[in-house]
Chain length 172, copies 8
């Protein structure tokens, strides 16, 4: 029934969000998960947004990641149009630091959930990882990859830890 | 071309917003301006919201007043679907005092304006008055009524002022 | 390999969070999804928290929902111990309205995602719905139930809308 | 009765606000709407502010746009002196990011509305668009221009969208 | 040249501020300083506000105390119209706790100072004491009274301290 | 009884506050008011702070201006040690924008007032002007100078206004 | 050299803080640690505060716990007068929820540390526990008691956990 | 029983926190207190964090200093695993200025205290000083060093004060 479109749709409200949102795409690439990146504005292209949200499931999308800033409605709009899980990434904003984006994304009313991550790049990266984790619920191979990625991340920090300790010793 | 529907459409995201939003309706009644009140949720009834926004102008609406709380997208959704002026009223919220509603309503991206008023009842009242002021731009009778309403308001405060001064004198 | 434990584990940091977190359980019950509710504190029972997070996947859990307040670390602790998707629900707090819980839950560093919902009961309800949406990714029957629940929700609001319009007519 | 002054008066509290407020003027120019720009401080030139507000209607002004920062009283002062619609633009501030300007502009008491837009340049742009939308309520030609401007804006985003999708394809 | 009006003018934006602002009056009564209380709204009675500010010095006022809430402009308006010292008292607000009133009162632009006190009743009390301190700069008797009031206040706390210590001993 | 020390004492908590606080000194110089500038930390030199506060009145000081940042206690400490009027200037802070300094300075308990101005340089300038206004209460010559300074300030803005209007005309 | 006064001094800025601060005293009683409770205001009884801080070490105090609200300077004042560890407890405040108290207590400048705990009762309880932990650094018996108290606390939560699980089972 | 490891363990959640946290190390070096610096992430290396917290006391650590940013759980995790005093340092964050780190560190639930210092470098310096003060409770020599350090700090500010006064004199 569903077309074999990409598994994850990454939507952003403006081309200027690409630098942040490409962190999510990078994660999906690392895990070999098909995805598309779209610039669709809840406010400036409402029909496109409506169409994208309504058609996502049929096109084969499993998870939507939406990033937007300020009065950030994009994730909420997506969530209102599909029952697929929608992950929201609040963009940093020059005036209020992204607090406006965060509250506009996370404070959804009961009934229409948005899975919100942190403001900015680490939030976008985590949106990618959340999408992987959701797909891994029914894909043992992905689950294994996730577990290995965690180990790699742990080892990087353990190396930082050892270098710091050696450095201190060396300095003395 | 436009049907003779009510001049002002008041939309709220939930029936629980009625207590606040009826302040806007009360003002419109005082000025004898035809209006309708609708419960339409940007998130829970997106198609109705879409339809309402898209059809408003054709139905004869001149101004839309939209009130919503938390991740308050309703005014922004209306504004994205019509070129009519849209007034947004942020609802008070139990957890963050309405700061979430305010930022979600006012921090719109360039291109899609929402005329935002204060949080809660005084904001809803002012939304009604803003709608009147917009209609009065091309309706001299309304403009006169607005001027008289201002005078009445001034007199009420002047009476408060006099009573306070007399009270202080009396007490001594 | 995985035991046939409940599909969703709901964890809360304190018994006093039960009133909020039972909103998540209620949703899962409506969808017939097996779940357990646990009181495990990241700070006061760290070993239990560690054990719960580490063992969740093996016990058959697919999604973890964690609710905590103030310096709300529980969701983050769970997320650090498992690659399963973890949903975080910030508790309202009497002093800062839940802003502390929200920031402590959502502002996770890159690498360890927490899917955060709104502060309080609507957030807990949405956490339940998010868990359903994740499970529905590979369960067409659940996906259908979700779609029907959306319709029911829409109809409720449409009824509110009609009653409000009739009421206004009636009153006049 | 009214002189044929400009239709829109843009007021700012300080010459340093010009960079932001000229975004509003630019929109009005695009729509061919006559306007004036004034530097009038609610606090430093209260008599001028008083006179400007009181005389606006008689001079033919239809809409006032007022931008100010910090304890931003200018829009409120204008609104207290005229029944014309007043649009307030909160200036960004170096210390509090414009939250002070926003709250000082939007939190008006019941009776004296200010139609507030977002902090900074996008808010000023939207103030211009709001003024156009208000004038378009009784000017079908302006309404058409507004509709076309929306389409142009949509097309720009749709182009961004297509470029992003092609770029991703090209890179692979 | 100056009429012998009251030395201190207490202005409030609404009769509902009386409960808070009467704390300032109470202090002035304790020090036997002549004062008047006025309800004058910067937004709803701008001409009265203008007249009050402009005439204050001539009527013999030495200090103005102004209390207002939300987009609290009253103190700033007074300060813009007189070179007398103006003390601003931010009213508590139900939605934002008075943060809006505080920022609207204290964040004045360079050139027009407002001496701001704390939000609410203790702020109003301190406004009264500040007015006394200003008058005491050229009134040795008032300065002595202020010094004695401080001693009384100290003794009250020292008594609390002793009672607490005795109570603890007694309980054991 | 009082020595003929400077009329205004400007105290700051750290040498790094000099750039901001010298704005207050500049105003006092313009008005020919004798003043001293001191670096005294409430936290790092409590005895000096204590001695300065306690001795200020005897040394002939009429007004104290205190600027400090973060947990900004200096103004409050001065106010606790003298009945002279104390003006507090919150320093901007790199992390919280000065909100910490502002709340620490303005939210004084009932009984010990601090006359707080805006965060940063405009606050320091206004602190200088407030001190002048207080001294002008019993010094008609100073009062006249203040009135003239206001006029000069008004003229500067009126010139900005005219230049802006001419500029717009010229450009066309 | 040091008198054998109580090991811990609990100071609060006002008698009204007793309800919160007695949570610290209760902890110290449970651990059998001698302590005193004092009402001393940094602002209203500065000499007493000065004397208390300066003499604490000589009187045998090992740790000071200070609780205050709003512009909460008491802990900072204590820390400025002694090299003993000072623990600060921010009081909840009716207007700003204790954010003012928190920032005034925690944002101390480099050189004068205050060990700050959470706003309100749980902060006061934790202040007591921190004092115990500090004393336990050189008192093995106290360290054992602390370890046992942790176990008791864990067991309480484990019981809540079991009851919740049984309750859910029972209900079904 | 305890090994003779370093007296103070400084832990940070990421190598990027080293610039801030080395301020704590610098203080400990000045006082000749043995210490170690570790990079251990509560979220990315939970087992290491668990092990470090659990083993700290046995390895001879007396005080733990933990610095982390955003959803800053590291200090809380340490505190949950040991009864040693844990000092938390909130890292500045680019988006929310460190308010997220502060609330995540300080708002601990009753039972598990974290002694929180200011955001950033001055907080890290004060964390070092707090650790010294705790160790000085049972080490008279350290207590003397602390007292001397305070004097040095006072003298530095007194020199600043004198230079400022001389500079002002010289300039005239």
């Amino acid at each position: 029934m569903a077309e074999s479109g990409p598994l994850v749709t990454i939507v952003m409200g403006s081309k200027s969000d690409l630098d942040v949102m490409s962190q999510a795409a990078k994660v999906l690439e690392q895990f070999g998960i098909s995805h598309e990146m779209r610039v669709v504005s809840a406010h400036r292209t409402p029909d496109r947004a409506h169409e994208l949200g309504r058609s996502a499931k049929e096109r084969g999308t499993k998870v939507i990641i939406a990033g937007a800033g300020k009065a950030a409605h994009l994730a909420g709009v997506m969530a209102s149009l599909t029952t697929l899980p929608v992950i929201g990434v609040p963009m940093p904003t020059s005036d209020l630091g992204g607090l406006d984006s965060l509250l506009s994304t996370v404070q959804m009313p009961g009934g229409i959930p948005v899975a919100t991550t942190a403001i900015g790049k680490s939030g976008a990266k985590n949106a990618g990882l959340l999408a992987v984790a959701m797909l891994a619920m029914s894909d043992a191979k992905l689950a294994d990859m996730l577990a290995r990625q965690r180990e790699t991340m742990q080892q990087a920090i353990e190396q930082d830890d050892e270098q710091l300790q050696q450095g201190l010793t060396a300095e003395r």
